[in-house]
Amino acid sequence: MSALAIDARGLTRRFGDFTAVDAITFHVAQGEVFGFLGANGAGKTTAMRMLIGLLEPSSGSATVAGYDVVRDAEAVRRNIGYMSQKFSLYDDLTVQENITLYGGIYGLTNAQIAERTRKLLGRIGLEHARKELVRRIPLGWKQQLAFSVALLHQPRIIFLDEPTGGVDPITRRRFWEMIYETAATGTTVLVTTHYLDEAEYCDRLSIMVDGAIAAMGTPGEVKGAFGAASLDEVFLRLTRPGAA
């Protein structure tokens, strides 16, 4: 089994004439926090959906946790957690009911579910809202809850698709703390974002432009390669070549 958490080779996805993801090759080591940067529509989400088995690649291949995403999709699913861009817990169920559901789906015992619920809610400070409908809790908390539920079964790799979209700066900060805590336990994190300040927090990152990877490395490496002072500058140069 490979030591790499994610290993993508020439991963491509076409929708008709449009190539959303164009032969991307990259790998993510175990325990790394890997950032996927890019403008809206650059292909980040499409790439992620191929890795988690929601979308079949048009060509190329990838392994996640050592399993092929096409041939061993089920094995991949057992080893990953996913938090989508669109909030996707059931907002007509309570916080507890959502946790119980996903706990049950991943085959946790009732005791495990109870224990993890307690820990999870304690960590994000949501104990008081256990019986509240998810619909009624504030967005920042919803996002933290969704993240925690995606971690409930202690996956080896977690995929976060724009987890901080639309939340306030304090919650964003809190969110990244959670990401670090998660990575500290050895879980690999793949996160997409278009907040460039967040990218600085990643161990390594890649910048996607028009479906292809335009730059990749540690934040320092990327800045160095472009001789830029900040990722902002790199990003602007990549996306608007004429401007700089």
């Binding site: 959906r49 988690i52 088995g53 929601l54 979308l55 079949e56 999709a73 089920e74 699913r77 057992r78 990953i80 957690g81 996913y82 989508s84 669109k86 909030f87 996707s88 817990l89 059931y90 007509d92 169920l93 009911e97 119980t100 559901l101 996903y102 706990g103 049950g104 789906i105 991943y106 085959g107």
Partner: protein, 375 residues
């Protein structure tokens, strides 16, 4: 197995938390069953009749009296001329017109026969045929009566002709009550509409909200998924069905001559087919709106071409074949046969087998076509 229970619990929580839906899925079937069962009949009751009595004689007055006395006609207009009759027919003020021409009584006395005219508004098709038969029967009886009472004409004939005693029998309908026939049809229609709709809408909604993606990245198997999406609504539909059957029994007095467990066993199989169709629809639609239209399309074909409300024998051959593979047709046949006629396993074995085959087929199709991936 445990996974399925968790998923089912979620479905029940979601349905029962939505008060509007709970109200709908129990109220609509009960209300409609109570009301609509009474509507599905061709019985004629007091048809509006216009009489144009140009003769104004004792005999013509007698005829009008017989028509009214029979209880099947109501004299809406009685007038000496045809003035305004055409527009009364056009306006639906009257359904039938009887014209007794001038010289009616005289003709009868002299020649023992005389013309009368009947007109019917036949825009409602078959119903007009039934009204006509009722009118002819009254006229025929009256003619025989006149044969006895009228003064003999010049011919002086002694014979009057024997009256016709038409004894009608309806076979294979022991309860002689159209409601007993219609309750199963309406109940099954309602249960199907609601069950199929809930099932199909459920997955489409999860697609729209994005929650389906979240389920799809979990290790749930297709079989578990389909089972967990089917079972909750299968149970709900069975509850609706049971309620309806109780209403049928208590309110409409439908008999239960055969085995009730057999009816429920068949219902269980039938519902797998019906809800399976809903599941199958939702595997290829993207939005709730689309799902709804496809469901409507399929359901209308399903209900209207099943012979539930109109006779299969009147359909063209190809449509009869379509009816043969229609699950509703077989299930309603089983219900009618078992409940009303007391049929047993032997009679319903074949339709039951067809239903079971349908259930297996539709589920296999749904599982096959359901994909955890987009495209």
């Amino acid at each position: 197995m445990r996974t399925i229970l968790f998923l089912m619990r979620k479905e029940f929580l979601q349905v029962f938390r939505d008060k509007a839906t709970v109200f709908q899925i129990f109220f609509i079937p009960v209300a409609q069953l109570l009301i609509l069962t009474n509507a599905a009949t061709f019985d004629i009751k007091r048809t509006a009749l216009a009489v144009v009595d140009e003769d104004r004689s004792t005999v013509s007055a007698g005829l009008v009296q017989r028509l009214e006395g029979g209880g099947r006609f109501r004299i809406a207009r009685y007038q000496p001329t045809t003035a305004g009759i055409e527009s009364a027919l056009l306006d639906r003020e009257v359904t039938a017109v009887l014209r007794i021409p001038h010289g009616f009584e005289e003709g009868l006395v002299r020649e023992r026969h005389a013309p009368v005219q009947l007109q019917f508004n036949a825009e409602e098709g078959a119903a007009a045929g039934i009204v006509q038969a009722a009118a002819l029967a009254v006229l025929g009886d009256y003619a025989r009566e006149l044969g006895v009472t009228l003064p003999r004409g010049a011919a002086g004939a002694m014979a009057v002709g024997a009256p016709l005693e038409l004894r009608t029998q309806g076979w294979f309908n022991p309860s002689r009550n159209y409601k007993h026939y219609m309750v199963p049809a309406i109940l099954v229609s309602l249960t199907t509409i609601i069950g199929l709709l809930l099932t199909a809408q459920n997955i489409a909604r999860e697609k729209e909200l994005g929650t389906l993606d979240q389920l799809n990245v979990t290790p749930i198997t297709k079989g578990q998924f389909i089972t967990a999406k089917l079972l909750p609504f299968w149970i709900l539909s069975l509850v609706i069905f049971t309620m309806g059957l109780m209403i049928g029994k208590v309110v409409f007095g439908i008999p239960t001559r055969g085995s009730v467990p057999l009816v429920f066993f068949s219902a269980g199989i039938y519902l797998v087919v019906a809800l399976g169709i809903g599941l199958w629809i939702s595997t290829f639609t993207r939005t709730q709106q689309q799902t709804m239209f496809v469901a409507l399309f399929i359901m209308l074909i399903y209900l209207l071409m099943s012979g539930l409300f109109t006779p299969v024998e009147s359909m063209p051959r190809w449509a009869q074949w379509m009816a043969e593979v229609n699950p509703v047709k077989h299930f309603v046949f089983i219900m009618r046969a078992v409940l009303v006629k007391g049929a047993g396993w032997e009679t319903v074995a074949k339709p039951l087998a067809i239903l079971a085959a349908g259930g297996v087929g539709v589920l296999a199709l749904a599982v096959r076509q359901y994909s955890k991936q987009v495209q």
